[in-house]
C-alpha cells in the first residue's frame, strides 16, 4: 500500500460546519476515502473542495433609473474559488438600466469561466 495524505476541510454547506477529511494516495493522487460528512452534500463538497474548489460569488453592479444605485448579483453556479476577486473587479465596469428581473443574466460566461452572472432581485424603473 502506498502512502496516503489526509486533507482537512470544513463544510460550508450549512451551519453545522462538519469537519471533513479526504485521504489521497500520494503517488496516484486518487481519492481513497472521504470522512466526517453528515449528509450527501457534505461528501460532494469534500470531493469538490479537494479537486476544484468553487464558491458562489456575490457582489453588485451599477444600475440607472432605479431606487438604489446598485443591483445585487451572483454567479448562477459556483465559480472557481481563486477567480472571486477577478470576477468582482470585472463587474465593477458593468452598468445596467432598470427594469431588471430576478434571474436576468447580467454577464454571460464571465472571464471565460463558463459561469453566468445573474440579478438576485427585481428592480423596477423609476
Amino acid at each position: 500500500m502506498t502512502q496516503q495524505l489526509t486533507a482537512h476541510y470544513l463544510c460550508i454547506g450549512c451551519p453545522m460546519g462538519c469537519r471533513l477529511e479526504v485521504d489521497e494516495d500520494i503517488e496516484s493522487h486518487a481519492i481513497v476515502e472521504v470522512r466526517g460528512f453528515s449528509c450527501r452534500l457534505g461528501r460532494e463538497y469534500a470531493l469538490q473542495e479537494h479537486t476544484d474548489p468553487r464558491r458562489i460569488v456575490t457582489t453588485t453592479v451599477a444600475i440607472d433609473q432605479a431606487h438604489w444605485q446598485r443591483l445585487p448579483v451572483r454567479s448562477e453556479i459556483a465559480a472557481p474559488k481563486d477567480q472571486g476577486i477577478a470576477i468582482c473587479r470585472a463587474l465593477r465596469s458593468v452598468r445596467v438600466s432598470a427594469p431588471v428581473a430576478m434571474g436576468d443574466i447580467i454577464v454571460s460566461d464571465i472571464l471565460g469561466t463558463g459561469v453566468n452572472i445573474i440579478a438576485t432581485r427585481d428592480m423596477r424603473k423609476i
Binding site: R55, I56, T60, A62, W68, Q69, T120
Partner: protein, 440 residues
C-alpha cells in the same frame, strides 16, 4: 397592494404588523392562514424586505425554501408571497404608538399622522447594531468608524466604499461577511479582532470569509485606541488576559483609514416599551408565551425584536407561529393559556418562549452562557426531578439551541415551573429519559 400613502389604506384592520422584514412578511401570511381577512404590514423603508435587501451574500433559506438563496432573493420571495395573499403593505411609514384600545398611530411621508383600528398587532421591528459607544473604545472620534451593517448598506445599496484599508472589531457573522465583502471591493482588511478566546461567527464563515482571503483572525485581542483627527489613521490593538483586561505592554499599531465594529445586535423595542410590554432583561425583547403573545392581549411579537436569531429561517418559523396566533386571536380561537413557566438554569442565558403549555408541541430557543463539549440539556422540575434530558454534541453561546418539546415529554409533569440546565455530561443524571434528534 404596496403603497406609501395612508389614503389608500382601510381605517380598520384585523391585524397590523409593525415591520416588513422577513419576520413581518411571514407573520402577515400566517395571520391570513389562521383566518384574519384584513392585514396591513407597515415598513419605514422605501421598500419592504428588511435587512435582507443589503445582505447580498448567499446562505439563506436552506430550511425555509430547501435551497441556498441570497438575502435579496429570500426577501423577494417573502414579499411576493405577501402580495399574492392580497395583504396591504405601506412603506415609508412609521408606527408612532399603539394605545390601550389598539389604535395604531401611523405616520406616513405623504399624509402625516392617521389612526387605524386593529384587533391584533404583531411586533416585528427587528434589531439595531451596537455601536462603538456600546464598548467605549478609547481614542479620538474621527470619521471612518462604521458599524458593519452600515458599511454593508453603503457598499451594497449605494455603491459607496467606506475606505481603503480596514480593521474589523468583532468576529460575529456580520463582521466576517463584511471582511470578505471589503476584500471583493479591493479594500484591504488588516485583520479581524475578537475579544473572546473563540470566534463568534459560524465556522463556515471563518472558512469562506477569512481563510479564503488570508485575513488574519486575532482572538483574545481588542482595539484599545482609535487614532486620527479628521479621519482614522491608525488603531492600537492589544491582547487581553483571562478577565478581558488589555495587556498594554504587548500592544501594537495598525495603519488603517476604516474601522468596522461588529459587536452585536440589540432588539429594537422603543415601541414595545411605550406600550408598557414587559421585557426580558437578558434578551431585551418582550416576554412571550408559547403563542408569541406579549404581556398585553392581542399583541404578538417575532423575529429579532424578541431575541437575536442566528439565521433567518428560524425567524420565519417563529413569525409563522406569531402571525398564526394573531389570526387565531382575531377569530377567537387562540389556544388555552400556558401552564408552565420556563426558567433559564445552569449555563443557560435565556430561553424563548418564556411559558409553555403541557398540551401542545413547542420549539424552545435558548442560548448558553459558556461553550461546552459533549453535554446534556435537561428540564428540571421544582423538586429537582429531571423531567427530560437530551445529549448535545457541543454548545456555543453564538449558536442558538433549538429544543423540540412534545406533550408526551411533559405528561408525567404536574408542576408549574421548569428549569432548563445545560451541563457537562459527567454531571448529568438520568440521561436515558429520552433523546431526540438535534434540530438544525
Amino acid at each position: 397592494m404596496i403603497t406609501s400613502s395612508s389614503r389608500h389604506l382601510r381605517s380598520s384592520y384585523d391585524v397590523v404588523v409593525v415591520g416588513g422584514g422577513p419576520a413581518g412578511l411571514e407573520a402577515a401570511v400566517a395571520a391570513q392562514a389562521a383566518g384574519a381577512a384584513k392585514i396591513l404590514v407597515v415598513d419605514r423603508e422605501a421598500e419592504a424586505g428588511g435587512i435582507l435587501l443589503q445582505c447580498i451574500h448567499s446562505g439563506f433559506g436552506l430550511h425555509r425554501f430547501g435551497e441556498t438563496l441570497t438575502g435579496p432573493e429570500y426577501a423577494q420571495r417573502a414579499l411576493m408571497q405577501t402580495l399574492e395573499h392580497d395583504i396591504d403593505v405601506v412603506t415609508d411609514a412609521y408606527v408612532l404608538d399603539i394605545d390601550e384600545r389598539r389604535r395604531v398611530k401611523l405616520l406616513t411621508t405623504t399624509d402625516g399622522v392617521s389612526l387605524l383600528d386593529t384587533r391584533a398587532v404583531v411586533l416585528a421591528m427587528g434589531a439595531r447594531e451596537r455601536t462603538r459607544a456600546a464598548v467605549r473604545i478609547p481614542g479620538t472620534r474621527p470619521a471612518g468608524v462604521f458599524t458593519a451593517g452600515l458599511a454593508q448598506r453603503l457598499i451594497n445599496l449605494y455603491g459607496l466604499l467606506p475606505g481603503t484599508r480596514a480593521v474589523i472589531l468583532g468576529s460575529g457573522d456580520i463582521g466576517l461577511i463584511m471582511a470578505r465583502r471589503l476584500m471583493l471591493e479591493d479594500i484591504e482588511v488588516a485583520g479581524v479582532f475578537e475579544l473572546m478566546p473563540h470566534a463568534n461567527g459560524l465556522n463556515r464563515n471563518i472558512v469562506q470569509c477569512l481563510q479564503d482571503f488570508d485575513i488574519p483572525l486575532h482572538l483574545s485581542t481588542t482595539i484599545v485606541e482609535i487614532h486620527g483627527n479628521h479621519r482614522v489613521n491608525q488603531v492600537t490593538v492589544a491582547p487581553v488576559d483571562a478577565s478581558f483586561r488589555p495587556l498594554l505592554d504587548q500592544a501594537w499599531q495598525i495603519t488603517c483609514d476604516t474601522v468596522l465594529v461588529s459587536i452585536g445586535l440589540i432588539p429594537e423595542n422603543e415601541l414595545s416599551q411605550q406600550m408598557r410590554l414587559r421585557l426580558d432583561p437578558v434578551t431585551r425583547g418582550p416576554l412571550v408565551t408559547s403563542t408569541m403573545e406579549c404581556t398585553r392581549d392581542g399583541v404578538f411579537a417575532c423575529g429579532n425584536v424578541v431575541h437575536i436569531h442566528d439565521i433567518v429561517d428560524f425567524v420565519s418559523a417563529e413569525a409563522t407561529l406569531a402571525g398564526y396566533s394573531a389570526g387565531q386571536y382575531v377569530a377567537g380561537a387562540l389556544p388555552r393559556a400556558d401552564n408552565v413557566r420556563l426558567q433559564p438554569g445552569k449555563n443557560v442565558a435565556y430561553c424563548v418562549p418564556h411559558t409553555i403549555s403541557t398540551e401542545r408541541e413547542h420549539i424552545v430557543y435558548l442560548r448558553t452562557r459558556r461553550q461546552l463539549g459533549a453535554c446534556t440539556l435537561r428540564l428540571v422540575g421544582p423538586s429537582e426531578q429531571v423531567v427530560y434530558a437530551r445529549k448535545l454534541r457541543y454548545v456555543f453561546p453564538a449558536e442558538m439551541v433549538n429544543l423540540k418539546l412534545r406533550p408526551a415529554i411533559l405528561q408525567q409533569f404536574h408542576g408549574d415551573r421548569l428549569r432548563i440546565d445545560v451541563v457537562a455530561s459527567e454531571a448529568a443524571v438520568d440521561e436515558d429519559l429520552g433523546e431526540e434528534e438535534v434540530l438544525i
